[in-house]
């Protein structure tokens, strides 16, 4: 073994939430160790003092048992509720992404992680992120359930086919960290691993700007927009009465049946796959469902295209973006 044993017993805290999770775990662990130690000591004392045949006196108990039990029930309940609140507080922060976080798309499939950066740069089993920047991953799966797990971030999210879920974090440390799939997904489950490369925002922007051979996601999305026939109705002028998609991203639109919907990635996804579910008000329901027609990867690029249609310089908030 090349690494000394004790150095393997430490896991880096590389996200803003990692320290808080560790602290909460350490809090409960400390109480647990104390309780186990006290119970062990008391049991051992009783076993020795009250061993059969020992001269220790054994008068009947003076305090009625219900008083002691009430104390035990109350004390454990209060203590447990405290830890419940502590763990839940952090969990709610984990589940609530801050506004304006940069979005990166991640698709899980047997057996790889397929990543699309905000400018469309793709990577496999590798995820580059800037440090000290809130990042929101939009995750989905093409086949079975996977789970995106970064131990150094203390974060994990199941990646479920048929829906898009999100996971946000703020990397607090530069470095390369393990990425595991932690939901059993078949033969090569244990090989569905990768790395998170966290680097300073400047270096990340440089890396992003290099792009890759596959071109920019806006251009790829535009091709798909034509190929799937979206442009036939959604590009003006059109003989079909369909909503124009120019600058629609981020707006609130009225929907059939009353109320408004915020046009975000999740809404656009539903519009494409389940057009009847969340149709915008004032348009005939003539759009067919694209469920099973558009694969997850194309969907991500179509949405990336719609997102920046007519967005002008609004898309420029993402570092390294080349509209």
């Amino acid at each position: 073994m090349t690494t000394p044993f004790f150095s393997t017993l430490w896991l880096e805290e590389a996200s803003t939430v990692a320290k808080r999770t560790d602290f909460a775990a350490a809090g409960l662990l400390a109480v647990s160790v104390l309780l186990v130690a006290v119970l062990a000591a008391v049991n051992l004392y009783f076993i020795i003092r009250y061993r059969r045949g020992s001269p220790a006196p054994r008068p009947p108990a003076r305090i009625p048992s219900w008083k002691i039990e009430t104390f035990w029930i109350a004390a454990t309940t209060v203590c447990f509720l405290g830890f419940f609140a502590w763990g839940t507080r952090i969990y709610l922060d984990i589940e609530r992404p801050p506004a304006g976080a940069d979005e990166i798309s991640v698709i899980g499939r047997q057996w790889m992680w397929d990543v699309r950066q905000p400018n469309g740069r793709r990577e496999f089993n590798e995820l580059h992120v800037p440090t000290h920047t809130p990042i929101r991953l939009l995750l989905t799966s093409e086949d079975v359930i996977h789970s995106f797990y970064v131990p150094a971030f203390r974060l994990k999210q199941d990646v479920v086919p048929g829906k898009q879920v999100s996971l946000w974090f703020n990397a607090s440390k530069e470095g390369t960290f393990s990425l595991f799939c932690s939901e059993f997904c078949g033969s090569k489950h244990a090989n569905m691993t990768g790395v998170i490369v966290a680097e300073s925002p400047g270096r990340y922007a440089d890396w992003l700007a290099q792009g890759d051979a596959m071109g920019d996601s806006f251009a790829r999305g535009e091709t798909l927009f034509l190929r799937y026939g979206c442009s036939g109705c959604h590009t003006q002028p059109s003989s079909v009465h369909a909503p124009s998609l120019e600058g629609i991203y981020g707006r609130r639109v009225p929907v059939t049946g009353g109320g408004f919907a915020l046009v975000d990635d999740f809404y656009l996804r539903d519009c494409i796959l389940l057009p009847g579910k969340v149709a915008p008000a004032g348009y005939p329901l003539i759009m067919p469902s694209f469920q099973g027609v558009v694969p997850e990867g194309d969907l991500v690029e179509l949405i990336a295209y719609i997102k920046r249609l007519g967005a002008g310089d609004r898309g420029g908030s993402t570092p390294g973006m080349t509209p």
Partner: protein, 530 residues
């Protein structure tokens, strides 16, 4: 007492065993079958631990490894842990404990063993035919669409074995309601009977949900009916909700009877009534009830609703309160007792320690933020082995030793038994404690190959497993020896209270020559002066 043949000696023919309606003989049928299943499950575990000695996974390839952990989980849960205490010890002891001649429906009792064996045969066939690689949890859509293994046969086996659980549960509920001896009121029942009663209710209410879930999974796999696979209009999370709605209460099916055994043993070997008897009985009922409302804590990272998660976390903390009370009351039972450390008592004390660690690490998992980190890692593996093996198997072994003189009529070699109990305790901790650390460091479960930084802890775990294996082998030998050659035990070698000790060992087929009459509570122990 008239010299009537005991239940073992009435007839030695094969027919008399395989067509028996005697609850004691049916208990022994279960004992021998689940011992075989335990050996099969343990062999799979041993193979995995040996494979994990090397991080590169070059001893066992992924597809074999995936079949091994599925085999281990399915066999150990449905064909060992769930039937262990209820169907072996419960079948044997329950009627004796309440002063009855048999269970309420002896034929149903025998039928449930045959159903159990039918299910087991299908599972063994699935394994022999090439195995299943879904894990015991059968998560969809992997199990329903993607897995190329014998999922249908395996699921059919588990489905059928479920009916055996339901029949046994039903049988016990009716037996406890209708067949108690005169004077044996509800609050004179030993806690083991309370625990079997609660377990039976869970068996009857939860097992049908498992059957339904497996049936839906089979419909999707066999006929393409879209229920769980989103590609054909299903919802994969629905499967998890249904599965854990059964499988979380099933955890209590596995632990509650163990708690009952421990209560009997602690009272007997400290010669004292269990501290706070009524609270202990209510705690069992509370655990059984709340146990139905916490299934979502298996799904904190599954993308279920955040607020549902919060409620499940709260309820999971609350279900731990009655468990904590039980541990405190067991400790208080020792206070001013008259304690002997015979083998059953060692197992009971081992249970208390390991169950406490299992329970407290369960709280860490109920704490949502911590669960987000350790869910699906070896931390979870270590946690449920502390509860299932450290808790339930210790209790089962303790119960077997405690009631062995009643079952066989003979004693075992006490010191060998004590050494085995200590070996199991030490080996267990050495096997599973490193897994808590592995899990917190981030090692995911169900990995046949793993990064090198997890190597030393895995080697430690495997070393512990070899000690644990030795500890489990010893009783197999000395108990078998005792069964045929051990010294006679007499009706009540532990000088215990409880109706089962008021008849001869082994008891006659009809249990009692005359139905006993009960006039006191369950643990009327007088501290013995030497």
């Amino acid at each position: 007492m008239s010299e009537k043949a005991d239940y073992l000696a009435v007839d030695y023919s094969m027919r008399s065993w395989f067509c028996t309606l005697d609850h004691k003989r049916i208990g022994l049928l279960y004992l021998s079958s689940i011992t075989v299943f335990f050996a099969i499950g343990a062999a799979a575990a041993a193979a995995m631990r040996i494979a994990l000695l090397s991080p590169s996974g070059d001893l066992i390839v992924s597809d074999v490894y995936n079949r091994l952990f599925t085999l281990h989980g399915v066999i150990m849960i449905w064909f060992f842990l769930i039937p262990a205490v209820p169907n072996v010890l419960g079948n044997f002891i329950l009627p004796l404990m309440i002063g009855a001649r048999d269970v309420a429906f002896p034929r149903l009792n025998l039928a449930s063993w045959y159903i159990f064996m039918t299910g087991a045969s299908l599972v063994l066939y699935a394994i022999a035919a090439g195995g299943v690689d879904t894990g015991w949890t059968f998560y969809t859509p992997y199990s329903s669409t993607y897995s190329n293994s014998h999922v249908m046969v395996m699921a059919a086996g588990v489905f059928i074995a479920g009916f055996s659980s339901i029949f046994t549960g039903l049988n016990f509920i009716v037996t406890i309601h209708r067949m108690r001896a005169p004077g044996l009121t509800w609050f004179r029942l030993p806690l083991f009977v309370w625990s079997l009663y609660s377990t039976s209710i869970i068996l009857v209410l939860a097992t049908p949900v498992l059957a339904l879930t497996l049936l839906l999974m089979a419909l999707e796999r066999g006929f393409g009916v879209g229920i769980f696979d989103p590609k054909i209009g299903g919802d994969p999370l629905l499967f998890q909700h249904l599965f854990w709605f059964y499988s979380h209460p099933a955890v209590y099916i596995m632990i509650l009877p163990g708690m009952g055994v421990v209560s009997e043993t602690l009272a007997c070997f400290s010669r004292k009534a269990i501290y706070g008897y009524k609270v202990m009985a209510f705690a069992i009922l509370m655990i059984a009830t709340l146990g139905f409302l916490v299934w979502g804590h298996h799904m904190f990272v599954s993308s279920q609703s955040v607020y549902a998660g919060v409620v499940f976390s709260l309820l999971s903390f609350l279900v731990s309160v009655p468990s904590a009370i039980k541990v405190f009351n067991w400790t208080a039972t020792l206070h001013r007792g008259s304690i002997r450390l015979d083998a059953p008592m060692l197992y009971a004390l081992g249970f208390m320690g390991l169950f406490t660690v299992g329970g407290l690490t369960g709280l860490l998992l109920a704490m949502m933020a911590v669960d987000v980190h350790v869910h699906g890692t070896y931390f979870v593996v270590a946690h449920f082995h502390y509860v299932m093996v450290g808790g339930m198997v210790m209790a089962y072994m303790g119960g077997i030793h405690y009631w062995w003189p009643k079952i066989s009529g003979r004693m075992y070699h006490e010191w060998t038994a004590r050494i085995a109990a200590l070996l199991i305790f030490l080996g267990f901790n050495l096997t599973f404690f490193p897994q808590f650390v592995l899990g917190y460091l981030g090692m995911p479960r169900r990995y046949y190959t793993y990064p090198a930084e997890f190597h030393s802890l895995n080697v430690m775990s495997t070393a512990g497993a070899s000690i644990l294996g030795l500890g489990y082998l010893l009783p197999l030998f000395y108990l078998t020896w005792s069964f045929f050659r051990g010294p006679m035990a007499g009706p009540n070698p532990w000088n215990a209270t409880g109706l089962e000790w008021r008849t001869s060992s082994p008891p006659p087929t009809e249990n009692f020559a005359a139905t006993p009459v009960v006039t006191t509570g369950p643990y009327a122990y007088e501290p013995e002066e030497k």
